[in-house]
Symmetry: C2
DNA sequence: CGCGAGCTTGAATGACTATTCAACAAGAGG
DNA sequence: CCTCTTGTTGAATAGTCATTCAAGCTCGCG
């Protein structure tokens, strides 16, 4: 049985789940082997190393996230409404019992020491997200206002990703967001 | 040479630095031995385990943080001004080259999986901080307003702790905070 | 049908992990 | 001066870590 050729994206999705939940250091290659079903040799041939696999998983996660944001902003009648919808989705996520914040945020914090490459990847992707928000806000506000509001929005999103671990925090978060982002079309 | 009796707080401060920077999983007991100067046996007699040492370090960090907040709020002419001073201090921290967010926040994110005890400790301490802010805000605003603003404030603090890794973000953060916390007495 | 390229396999590797413990040292109390 | 308590020491333990590689399988091509 030597030619089953695994589905790369499927494997990456399982890696995302594992790494996202436990972080980089606390995820062993043994766990990767168990959750993906691949043997060590196959993983190393396909991804090079633990770091290589993590990097690809992180990039896939980021790409999915960016796509979801773009979609929501594009689908809504206005940018503000698109943002509100995204925020509400994030709040909903935080009510899940196995809530684990945002893969990019967790990676940014975990691997910050000494110019770690994965930290840089996560940071770059988060910057891309901010830039995306700003580009859409540009259509509705002046350049300097939209930049300021994009930062404010990111601060709130990051904040939620930490605050969300609190039990039954959904309503608190909703109130806090209304307080700090009054320029959004809340309903 | 068998009775030097190390200084517990000094050791804890070194442990804080190590764990804060690298996180729980990525800090080995070998590193703890190196940075504290203690031998394995002494560490285990004094703190029981890697987790025990981490817990005490985390609690010491939290106690120091709470004290600093209380101090600042007490010293300022008004609660708002005390909060502004604290936020500005946080911004300053983020400009350091070896910035590493907040030990409590990092721990909350790293060790969230499966009811980890250290995650609970970190979360409890962060809740204490929020409660402290709220208690002080109660003196100036109505009960429901102060609760809402305490949440909003925590969202911004958490947000900064993630955003702060961005290079030269200080001015962005300052602008973002003004945007989201307009009820503070900015100058 | 047979060859070889390409992928899989899983046991083996050596380094590193947290933790233990028997031997030992030095002060306090008698 | 002896002993007991308290704390130190660091080599040893058993396990886990990321990674490798020789051997084997299967498919596509000639």
């Amino acid at each position: 049985m030597a030619r089953p050729q695994f589905d790369r994206d499927e494997v990456l999705d399982k890696a995302i789940e594992l790494y996202w939940q436990h972080g980089y250091s606390a995820s062993s290659m043994q766990q990767v082997v168990n959750t993906t079903g691949l043997k060590p040799g196959s993983i190393y041939l396909a991804f090079g190393s633990k770091e290589g696999l993590f990097r690809e998983a992180l990039e896939r996660y980021a790409q999915k996230s960016l796509a979801k944001i773009r979609e929501s902003l594009e689908a809504a009648p206005s940018v503000g409404e698109g943002i509100c919808a995204l925020l509400e989705t994030n709040i909903q996520e935080s009510t899940r019992q196995d809530y684990c914040s945002c893969f990019l945020v967790k990676t940014r914090l975990e691997l910050a020491a000494e110019g770690n490459e994965l930290h840089k990847v996560a940071s770059a992707k988060l910057d891309e997200i901010e830039a995306l928000f700003q580009r859409y806000l540009d259509n509705e506000y002046g350049k300097s206002v939209s930049r300021q509001r994009a930062v404010s929005l990111m601060l709130h999103i990051f904040g939620m990703r930490v605050y969300g671990y609190r039990r039954d925090s959904a309503d608190y978060i909703r109130q806090g967001l209304r307080e700090g982002l009054p320029w959004l079309p809340w309903e």
